[in-house]
């Protein structure tokens, strides 16, 4: 866990705990003071208990929303709600502080504003449209007006609430105006709550299946709350005390708000988890039809259509080839279109989905990421495969070319320089004989010396040509060339070659040079007294080559000779393993498939 994340969790815990302490503090102190000074106004224990549980539930939900929700606003709103959830009894605690109680009384109904906004920002964490913003704006404005009315106009709340000292901020004594504002505020609040609930309910009823699944609890909870709020407003207006049952229902409705909010978030999260399934299907390389089906299942939206970008025709068409008619924007209606574009700006697909899913941007982000990944992966994979294939082909062409060049070089030496030198030797011999015939003995001796120097040069040239490409390998294959090679090794070598017939030239020369390099190492470094070379062709057409010695071991695969061998073997798609534990000899195993060669 990153330290930053840990820090955020600690901070979150501190904020929530502080809010809980504050809220419980107000509740408990209000209860204690009221029971001491005005027991006749003390609410019932059951009601107070329920009342004090409300902010705790909000705080708990704030914690959950904080960790799983897409935005931080809802959880901050929930914390604000808990802080603003001021029990009426608390005013008896601050009734003697003339500057404090008006401020608190001014905001003691703001929890309603907060609750409304929480509903409005559900589930995205911010307002969906202009209407939402208007509702929030009206609510906020009326809350501010009410706050100013309390602070500037109210001398003291009625005796039910507290025996408060005079309001120090009061500038005018206008009880009628205050009462009008008070009623207005409560009325507006109730109306707005009903409007919000109504909007949600209508959206839910008219919404498609995904819409209902995303938000099935919320409207219900809000509707219950709005009704009780309206009931409150009415009873407040007619100055009758609200009955206990109604008050209790109201509390339960309020509590259900954050719970349904969090439940909705969890539900959305669950859907995001299904996006993971989509990713899995994507990785398994499902075809386009299946992918679209899985997407519909993931989104619980049977109306989902995926239109794939057809590069060739420059248009979108679904998996069955049916193309998207006309301008996509005209077709929207109940649907939204989500264009998926690759990071390089190439269109990939157009997903037509239910409009409500737009509320869950993260989900759609996940979906388009999955799609992008899938297409990108496919594209990358085929690109890499293509590149790799090109590299393999060019490498094997290079190796074959080098092999051919060596053979050609040896042949050129054989047919050119070597032949010429041999005939030169012959002519020198004839010249020497003629010199002797004519009695010029010193010239004869001189020419003899030249001939023997020439023969030395020929011998060196022979070795060189043999090293470039042994003619025995060309003519006799591994069966002849490997024993010959072993014969040149100063360490006795047991050779066993079972490769009937001839193998592809590249395979033969690779195997030959592996043996040559391995035996050179045996001679140079191993201190071995014996070595073994085994070559055989298995029934699957793989040449199995093992060079082993009984020397000191500890050979490094990183030695330049070994690296050269490895490269050669790789180039013909072979594998090489080098086992060389100190003190236990060295075993080099090479496997070369014949099929891949040339």
């Amino acid at each position: 866990m990153a330290p930053g994340r840990k820090g955020r969790i600690i901070k979150r815990t501190i904020v929530i705990t502080a809010a809980a302490v504050l809220s419980l503090g107000m509740e408990v102190s209000g209860w204690l003071v009221t029971s001491a000074t005005a027991p006749e106004y003390l609410p019932e224990v059951s009601y107070s208990t329920l009342h004090s549980i409300v902010p705790l539930v909000f705080l708990a939900c704030a914690g959950v929303a904080w960790s799983i929700g897409p935005a931080r606003v809802p959880s901050q709103l929930m914390v604000a709600f808990a802080v603003l959830w001021i029990p009426v009894t608390f005013f008896r605690v601050v009734e003697d502080i003339g500057w404090l109680w008006p401020l608190l009384y001014g905001i003691h109904l703001w929890w309603g504003l907060i609750a409304g906004i929480i509903v409005l920002v559900y589930p995205r964490g911010w307002f969906g449209d202009r209407m939402d913003r208007w509702i929030a704006g009206i609510a906020l404005a009326s809350a501010l007006v009410y706050f100013l009315a309390v602070v500037l106009l109210l001398e003291a709340p009625d005796a039910d609430t507290c025996d408060c000292v005079a309001n120090v901020f009061q500038i005018a004594d206008a009880p009628a105006l205050y009462t009008a504002i008070d009623y207005g505020f409560r009325g507006i609040g109730a109306v707005l709550a009903l409007v919000i609930a109504g909007r949600l309910l209508v959206r839910w009823v008219r919404g498609s299946v995904p819409a209902r699944t995303v938000a099935f609890l919320m409207p219900l909870a809000l509707f219950a709350w709005a009704v009780t709020l309206a009931w409150y407003a009415v009873t407040y207006a007619v100055q009758t005390t609200a009955d206990e049952v109604m008050r209790t229902i109201s509390l339960v409705a309020i509590v259900s708000l954050p719970v349904s909010f969090v439940a909705g978030l969890a539900h959305a999260r669950n859907m995001r988890a299904r996006v993971a399934d989509l990713m899995r299907i994507t990785r398994e390389g499902a075809d386009r039809g299946l992918w679209a089906e899985s997407l519909a299942r993931t989104l619980r939206d049977a109306s989902v259509r995926v239109y794939w970008w057809d590069e060739e025709h420059g248009r979108y068409a679904d998996a069955s080839g049916e193309q998207l008619e006309g301008d996509p924007a005209d077709q929207v209606g109940q649907h939204s279109l989500l264009p998926v574009v690759s990071p390089t700006g190439i269109p990939i697909a157009l997903i037509r989905h239910d409009k409500v899913l737009t509320d869950n941007m993260r989900l759609l982000d996940g979906v388009s990421s999955a799609l992008r990944l899938s297409v990108d992966n496919g594209r990358l994979r085929s690109e890499i495969e293509r590149t790799l294939e090109q590299v393999r082909q060019s490498r094997s062409r290079i190796v074959e070319g080098a092999e051919k060049a060596r053979r050609q070089l040896e042949r050129d030496l054989h047919d050119g320089a070597q032949q010429h030198l041999v005939s030169l030797g012959m002519r020198l011999r004839l010249a020497a004989n003629q010199a002797r015939d004519r009695g010029v003995e010193p010239l004869g001796v001189e020419l003899d010396g030249t001939i023997s120097m020439l023969n030395t040069a020929l011998k060196e040239l022979r070795e060189l040509a043999h090293g470039i490409h042994p003619s025995l390998l060309t003519s006799g294959g591994l069966a002849l060339a490997v024993p010959e090679l072993a014969g040149r090794c100063p360490v006795p070598v047991v050779v066993e070659v079972q490769a009937e017939g001839r193998l592809p030239a590249v395979v033969e020369s690779t195997a030959y040079f592996v043996v040559a390099e391995a035996l050179a190492n045996v001679a140079k470094h191993s201190k071995a007294t014996r070595a073994w070379v085994r070559a055989n062709l298995d029934e699957r057409g793989v040449l199995d080559l093992v060079v082993r010695d009984n020397g000191v071991g500890g050979a490094s695969p990183a030695g330049s000779g070994m690296v050269g061998i490895s490269d050669r073997v790789d180039a013909v798609d072979g594998t090489i393993t080098i086992e060389s534990p100190p003190g236990a000899g060295t075993t080099i195993t090479v496997r070369i498939p014949l099929a891949s060669a040339g």
């Binding site: 012959m426 040509a465 014969g487 006795p492 014996r530």
Partner: protein, 221 residues
Amino acid sequence: MADPTVPLRVGIADDALLLREGISKVLEGGGIEVVASVGTGQELLDVIDELDLDAAVLDIRMPPSFRDEGIVALEQMRANGSKIGVLLLSMYATPEYALRVMGAGSGTGYLLKERVSEPQTLVRAIETVASGGSVVDPEVVEQLVHRTRADDPLSRLTERERSVLELMAQGYSNGGIAQTLFLGLKTVETHVRSILQKLDLEESPEHHRRVLAVLTLLGER
């Protein structure tokens, strides 16, 4: 087979014109009549009967595949029943080829091409194979003798016996060995018997079998 008063009739097959002509010159200088000079083994095969050759000089690497056409031609001659002497020339001293040449039967030889600058060696080799003898290039023998093997039977030979063995492998007769090493014939015969015994080889009445046996032993050691 060979009558010393009548010059040997020889055919040459080598794809390198320069060498072909050089070899002709050397042989003719040695009193050998070159009656055919061609570029491939097949061409020589075609004229063998017609020309009544005593011996053939063949390059090993010739068209069409430049691998072992010379040896193939030798094997073809033997398969056709031709018993003429055949001398194979090669740029490389390859024991495996020497063994294959000896394995084709008697009257065969294997020499490095550069021996053409030693006319006597070449002429003598042709005379040897024409009379059914065997010739193996000293360098091939050297390579074989210097091959290292664990539990080497050669280690049981004395220095002198080793020299004798090398000459045996080159195709020398006991008389030739005696001459080369300045030894008496009896001494050489004693050495040869001792060598064959130590190496667990059977004395063979046929000269070329002895060469083949020695070479094989050296190669398989």
